[in-house]
């Protein structure tokens, strides 16, 4: 009765990290509980129906779940909660989707009333065909994804046993010369392959691309990779050619500029979701080859239309890669039903502790606005308020001061508003990468940055994702997409790539005090704080005062002080 786990009545599990049994407990509860927060002392897991069904899908049963809770719990576990867990888990698998030799795809049940209940639903009716017998009903093969999605919403998730098509075979091997998959990457590939389809959650910089490559090497089949943008597509291609037996010619890019279809094709979300005259002209890509594996990079950003296409691709293996399952639009359940359950995840801090990602020092710099700025802020229109306070002159000066402080290191300045970035670029004498910057130009600048020819780069939100800049050690965030938590995670990820010299990374957020900027920052930081990346909060004055010795101009400090 002195376990590390406390089971709360709201179905959260509190795990005391410093307890000697904490590791064993974590392993026992990880299959069914989502890690929600991982600050320094007590980690919070949440037991959700989705999580329990994830566990069922992975072959755990209710008894194991209950045992894990009872064994490690410090206090008696509320009986009602145990009953609820058993009942929730029992709902999974009452319905199964499978292949019938004569009728094709069928939905069968082990519990007839459940089938009756779901068939009565208006949303299910159009998705199913003839009733074959009392426990079986035919499903249109094209509705395999749709029906899974709908059944999940009805609370009766179907187990998909209909299997996968192998797709067109294509030899792919990992070229492990001088490097090897890290243990957790291997584990992720294994879990994914064993489960058939699903999502792998790894922190930014932990090598998600390699998990993709490893999975492709397992599948040995033609692969379609969906990524967020062209730059990231190029990086995937670069990585694949370098890390696998694939050659330059075998990997195609399907983007706004190039439309190559090769055994391994990398397409951007943007090109897929381009609509012309009410239709998606590039949908044919999905049918253009007999794909054996589809990889979704940054699943948490998957645009809504892609969900729709994905619903039609249920017979293909699907691998989702992401740093966080948090979706600002709350469509986590669609990811579960259409891509698949979570197959692997590892907390950021754990991977950091293993040395695969750089440790980071997160600092929020609170800037006092000048009196005139405060007045202007107070009178700004509501919709303009954030833009105004995020782009104030004072913030720019503080940003410049921080850049000066880290002179000599590779610095990224990240922001939301182009005007602000242009201005910063001008003052810092640094190139700016924004939406209108051509891809060629972007790559040129990124290369220059990697090589160290440029030490400061000002980037807009185009650089939020999948840009590999391993040498960046300092990131300064000046403005963002309001309170987006996953954007914050992505941006932090930019500096978490392990450094050649084991350098500590710095992540600065410059925030205007007593404004909406501060509220948004608090919201954005919550995710990272819960991942164990606690922010220090520093007054700009103190920071600048600390800098004073380095010969900073004191005027800035004075004007910021009020």
């Amino acid at each position: 009765m002195n376990g590390p786990l406390i089971v709360q009545s709201d179905k959260t599990l509190l795990l005391e990290v410093d307890h000697e049994l904490a590791d064993a407990c974590r392993r026992a509860i990880a299959p069914f509980a989502e890690l929600e927060r991982a600050p320094e002392h007590i980690h919070t897991y949440r037991v959700t129906p989705l999580g329990l069904w994830n566990a069922r899908a992975a072959g755990h049963d209710a008894e194991q779940v209950v045992d894990a809770l009872v064994e490690f719990s410090r206090y008696p576990v509320p009986h009602a909660l145990l009953v609820d867990i058993a009942e929730t888990m029992d709902r999974y698998g009452r319905l199964t989707l499978s292949k019938h030799p004569a009728h094709g795809l069928v939905l069968t049940t082990t519990d007839r009333p459940v089938l009756e209940e779901v068939l009565r639903s208006k949303r299910i009716a159009p998705l199913v065909g003839a009733r074959i017998d009392r426990d079986t009903v035919a499903v249109h093969p094209s509705e395999r994804g749709q029906i899974k999605q709908t059944l999940l919403k009805l609370g009766w998730p179907a187990e998909d046993l209909a299997g996968y098509v192998d797709g067109e075979a294509h030899p792919i091997e990992l070229a492990e010369d001088g490097w090897a998959l890290r243990p957790y990457q291997k584990q992720a590939v294994e879990n994914f392959w064993h489960g058939g389809s699903g999502v792998v959650v790894l922190p930014c910089g932990a090598g998600k691309t390699l998990v993709g490559a490893g999975s492709m090497a397992q599948a040995k089949a033609t692969t379609l990779i969906l990524v967020t943008n062209t730059v990231s597509a190029r990086q995937w291609k670069h990585e694949l050619v370098k890390r696998t037996s694939l050659t330059e010619d075998e990997v195609g890019e399907y983007s706004g500029t190039r439309k190559e279809i090769r055994p391994v094709t990398i397409a951007t979300y943007q090109v897929l979701t381009t609509k012309r005259k009410g239709v998606y002209p590039h949908l044919e890509l999905f049918d253009s080859r007999d794909w054996g594996l589809i990889v979704y990079d940054e699943v948490h950003l998957l645009p809504a239309p892609v969900f729709k296409f994905t619903a039609d691709l249920q017979a293909r293996r699907r691998l989702g890669l992401t740093a966080t399952l948090v979706r600002e639009d709350g469509r986590e359940s669609d990811v579960f039903s259409l891509i698949g359950p979570k197959r692997f995840d590892a907390p950021w801090k754990e991977i950091e502790a293993q040395g695969y990602i750089a440790p980071a020092d997160c600092v929020e710099v609170r800037v006092n606005l000048t009196d005139s700025e405060r007045l202007a802020y107070a009178t700004a229109e509501t919709e303009e308020k954030y833009r105004y306070c995020a782009t104030t002159e004072t913030k720019r000066k503080v940003t410049e001061a921080i850049v000066r402080r880290f002179a000599g290191q590779q610095i990224l300045v990240i922001g939301q508003y182009i005007d602000q970035l242009d201005e910063l670029g001008e003052h810092l004498n640094a190139p700016v990468i924004k939406g209108e910057t051509s891809n060629a130009q972007r790559e040129k600048l990124f290369d220059a940055f990697r090589e160290g020819e440029i030490s400061v780069l000002v980037v807009s939100k185009v650089a939020n994702f999948s840009i590999d800049l391993p040498e960046a050690t300092v990131a300064i965030q000046v403005s963002g997409t309001f309170g987006s938590r996953q954007e914050e995670a992505q941006r932090l990820g930019r500096v978490l790539r392990p450094k050649a010299d084991g350098h500590q990374a710095h992540f600065y957020s410059v925030v205007a005090r007593d404004t909406i900027d501060q509220d948004f920052a608090a919201h954005r930081q919550r995710f990272l704080a819960e991942q164990g990346y606690a922010y220090r909060i520093v007054d700009a004055d103190e920071l600048l005062a600390g800098n004073a010795g380095k010969g900073d101009n004191a005027d800035d400090t004075d004007s910021a002080d009020s």
Binding site: S9, L14, P39, Y75, P76, V77, P78, A534, Y535
Partner: protein, 846 residues
């Protein structure tokens, strides 16, 4: 009770009983001594009253009741063997034979049966209640005896039957009936007789044998029915109806009075799979007990500053219950249970103010001071004794009104008894075993078969039992469905280890005979209860988590209390942070709002830092310290107060002068800024005051302009000019005139019509109301309805003013008369009780 001194009446039988047996009687039938009877004759009389007998019968268990029912079917008086035969049947069922003495003993103890073994008598009232009649067929399904059924039959017909049955004719009906009865009770001869019966006849008999024994026949019965009727196997009771005589039925039933005799109580079943280790049960129950305490505290904290309003009819509105359920994060029925529990324990009541609300009682504050285990004992004891049943909340009463929590109509007197019974069942199981609910209900039904319908499982007692099981679990009296040792102690049962452990192993059925019951029964004395409560508290105390004096602070601005906190710590933290998650631990989140709340409550930032540093096991994270400072920096930056007037002046010195002047004290001036004073006096008083001090102040408008004090002309609000008053009333129009004339004529008719003199009373003077007795009024009215005549009535309206009316009654029913009222010229309805009297109009009416 020997045969030589056989008592001749119940009173004598009672007189012969010893004190112990009398006290047993009075304990089981306490209604007999309220008030205490003067002598045993009175006691016997009282024991024979219908209400008391019904009460006693309702409290019998199934087998004792069946025995009583069988005795009602037996001859009066009956012998021991006859009764046993009816119960055990011809094959002398050993289980019945074994249980029979106990059942008879129970009946004797309860004074429902008296007399020695060879002359057993059922109390007459009980016999009347249990014997069959046309309205109440016996529960045994047996019909009348041959003698009863042939009572009105012609002697000739009886002789025919006797002859047809193959018996010699006799010279009188009585001996014939006796011979017939003798044949029917003789198994061998009966069997021979029935051997000759047509197959269809046997079929008819088998349909009637288990009751109801009555059947319909046509005037010309079919041949196989004829065969039965001829031999008296079916006897006519009324035209078209026949009955199967009791003797015949008993023969066909092989002597059994009951189709299914249930000599033993159904066992409380428990599957080994549902048996947990006693430690698991105890700790689960303790966990739940802790939750119960926390929930009650949370509930009353939630209602701390003015709970929900009391409905006019009493109780909590559905919306308030919903809100409470959300606040407690439980389902509504469970929320209702907690609310009712707090109420039953006296921790919560309505405040009795004009705007009535629910609030915690002073007893709650005392309760809070108790150690946790004792707090729980208070709750659990209150629950055990409460007749209020939370399970009813949300249902509807007989008048289809919704039953609300804390409202009226929730008392069910059977609730405490059922609770105790159910928990006793739990106590008889091996430690850690939880019962199957169905078997609990079946057992309960066996013990009180007359309460509630025969087959329904939804009757009140079953529902009470189910609620008792779930509520015991909620309260932590049971854990994982099994009785916890603290619950056992609270109920005053010996702990399981004290009992003979050898008799029950896991999976065993429970021993069913009451005399094998190892458990005490009946109410305990207050002293015993207090001792039991103390023992329960002692057992529970070590199982409850120890309050902690520290929390873990984390950089994501949360604090985790990994267990219950000491009260002062919990209180302060509750102000300083918002509770995010509850259960064994509590997760608090610090927000700017919550920190501000703490500052509002009078804490300073340094207090808060010191508080956190003192109670945190880990260093206070930097973001948290920063948050507190940041909020404190802004806290109170803006100050708000009320002033009713102000003085402003560009000259600081002048204001100084005013402030130091003693005469200004009454104006209660306060300096807000060098050039501004705030006053608590209104502007006019302030002006006057300053003027009297020799200053020359000027009043200022809201916009800051100086008000010109020129005298204003006083004006009313907008008013319309008065309407002209003409010399006389306006000329009426035709409709008005017509109506007026009709009214005048009708009034005239009422007052001038000559009336018949009222019999034997003074003729009412002109203007007096007619007076007749109410019976006479009614009769006259009813007659008038038939004849269509008009009547003259006196009528007193709701305000008490009397009038006379001429009406033509149309209908008299339900205490009202509906009539055409000549005076009002319309159809009206008058309550009869307001009609003082009635008199017919004279015939020579114009």
């Amino acid at each position: 009770m020997s045969t030589e001194t056989a008592p001749r009446s119940l009173a004598e039988a009672l007189r012969a009983r010893d004190d112990a047996s009398l006290s047993a009687l009075l304990r089981s039938r306490p209604d007999l001594i309220t008030p205490v009877p003067t002598d045993l004759t009175q006691l016997a009389t009282r024991a024979g009253t219908r209400a008391s007998v019904v009460r006693a019968l309702e409290r019998l268990d199934r087998f004792a009741l069946q025995t009583a029912e069988a005795l009602a079917m037996a001859s009066d008086p009956a012998t021991y063997d006859e009764l046993l035969g009816l119960m055990a049947g011809d094959d002398a069922d050993p289980a019945v034979t074994a249980a029979f003495p106990r059942a008879l003993g129970t009946l004797r103890e309860q004074a429902l049966v008296w007399g020695p073994d060879d002359r057993l008598r059922l109390v007459r009232t009980a016999r009347e209640l249990l014997a069959p009649s046309a309205q109440h067929p016996s529960a045994t399904g047996l019909g009348p005896t041959v003698a009863e059924a042939t009572a009105g039959m012609s002697p000739g017909r009886i002789q025919e039957i006797v002859a047809a049955a193959g018996l010699p004719t006799t010279h009188d009906s009585v001996s014939a009936v006796a011979a017939l009865g003798g044949l029917f009770t003789d198994r061998t001869r009966m069997a021979a007789l029935l051997d000759d019966a047509p197959v269809e006849s046997l079929d008819v008999l088998s349909r009637l044998v288990w009751g109801p024994p009555y059947g319909q026949v046509t005037a010309e019965p079919a041949r196989h029915l004829r065969w039965l009727i001829d031999r008296g196997l079916l006897l006519p009771t009324a035209p078209g109806t026949v009955v199967l005589p009791r003797e015949v039925a008993l023969h066909l039933r092989a002597g059994h009075a009951h189709r299914a005799t249930e000599p033993v109580a159904p066992p409380i079943e428990h599957a080994p799979a549902r048996t947990h280790r006693p430690q698991v049960v105890d700790s689960a129950a303790a966990g739940q007990a802790y939750t119960a305490l926390a929930t009650i505290e949370e509930l009353l904290k939630d209602w701390h500053e003015g709970g929900p309003a009391v409905l006019r009819a009493g109780g909590l509105s559905v919306r308030d219950l919903k809100r409470t359920a959300v606040a407690l994060d439980v389902a509504e029925p469970v929320a209702a249970f907690w609310v009712e529990l707090a109420y039953a324990a006296g921790l919560l009541a309505s405040d009795g103010e004009a705007d009535e609300r629910y609030a915690a009682t002073p007893a709650y504050d005392e309760w809070l001071e108790l150690p946790a285990a004792e707090r729980w004992v208070r709750l659990a004891s209150a629950w055990l004794a409460a007749t209020r049943t939370a399970g009813l909340v949300g249902g509807r009463d007989a008048k289809d009104r919704t039953l609300s929590a804390l409202g009226p109509g929730l008392d069910r007197s059977a609730a405490p008894e059922v609770r105790l019974r159910v928990l006793t069942f739990l106590a008889t199981l091996p430690e850690g075993a939880s019962p199957a609910e169905d078997s609990v209900l079946a057992r309960l039904h066996w013990e009180r078969p007359l309460r509630g319908p025969q087959d329904a499982t939804d009757d009140l007692r079953s529902r009470l039992a189910r609620w008792a099981l779930s509520e015991a679990e909620l309260l932590g009296i049971s854990g994982r469905g099994a009785l916890s040792s603290q619950g056992r102690a609270l109920l005053g049962f010996p702990s399981a280890s004290d009992r003979d452990a050898g008799s029950v192993g896991p999976g065993d059925k429970l021993p069913v005979h009451k005399r094998h019951h190892p458990l005490p029964e009946g109410p305990h004395s207050p002293a015993e209860q207090a001792a039991a409560a103390a023992r329960a508290a002692r057992l529970l105390a070590p199982l409850l988590p120890e309050p902690l004096d520290h929390v873990l602070l984390q950089a994501d601005l949360t604090a985790v209390a990994p267990g219950p906190l000491e009260r002062p710590l919990a209180d302060t933290l509750g102000v300083l942070a918002d509770v995010e998650s509850k259960g064994g631990a509590t997760v608090y989140r610090f927000t700017p709002g919550s920190v501000r709340r703490a500052l509002d409550a009078g804490r300073s930032a340094s207090d808060l830092h010191a508080f956190l540093a003192a109670h945190s096991r880990t260093p206070v994270p930097q973001p948290l310290a920063y948050l507190i400072d940041d909020v404190a920096r802004r806290h109170g930056h803006l100050r708000i107060g009320a002033a009713s007037a102000y003085v402003r002046c560009d000259d600081d010195a002048l204001l100084n002068e005013i402030l130091v002047d003693k005469r200004s004290a009454g104006l209660r001036l306060r300096r807000l800024a060098p050039t501004v004073l705030a006053a608590q006096a209104d502007p006019a008083t302030l002006l006057e005051g300053l003027r009297s001090m020799g200053f020359a102040p000027a009043a200022e408008s809201a916009e800051g302009d100086v008000l010109i004090t020129r005298a204003h002309a006083h004006r009313t609000p907008p008013r319309s000019a008065p309407e002209p008053v003409p010399d006389g009333p306006p000329v009426p129009d035709a409709t008005l005139l017509g109506a007026a004339i009709r009214a005048v004529r009708a009034g005239d008719l009422a007052s001038t019509t000559p009336r018949k003199p009222a019999p034997a009373t003074d003729r009412p003077g002109n203007g007096d109301l007619p007076r007749t007795s109410s019976a006479e009024t009614l009769a006259t009215m009813q007659a008038a309805v038939l004849t269509g005549e008009s009547l003259w009535i006196g009528y007193v309206n709701a305000e008490g003013s009397a009038s006379q009316r001429v009406i033509a009654p149309i209908r008299v029913e339900g205490g009202f008369v509906t009539a055409y009222d000549h005076t009002a010229d319309e159809v009206r309805t008058y309550p009869l009780h307001r009609v003082t009297g009635v008199s017919e109009l004279a015939d020579d009416q114009p």
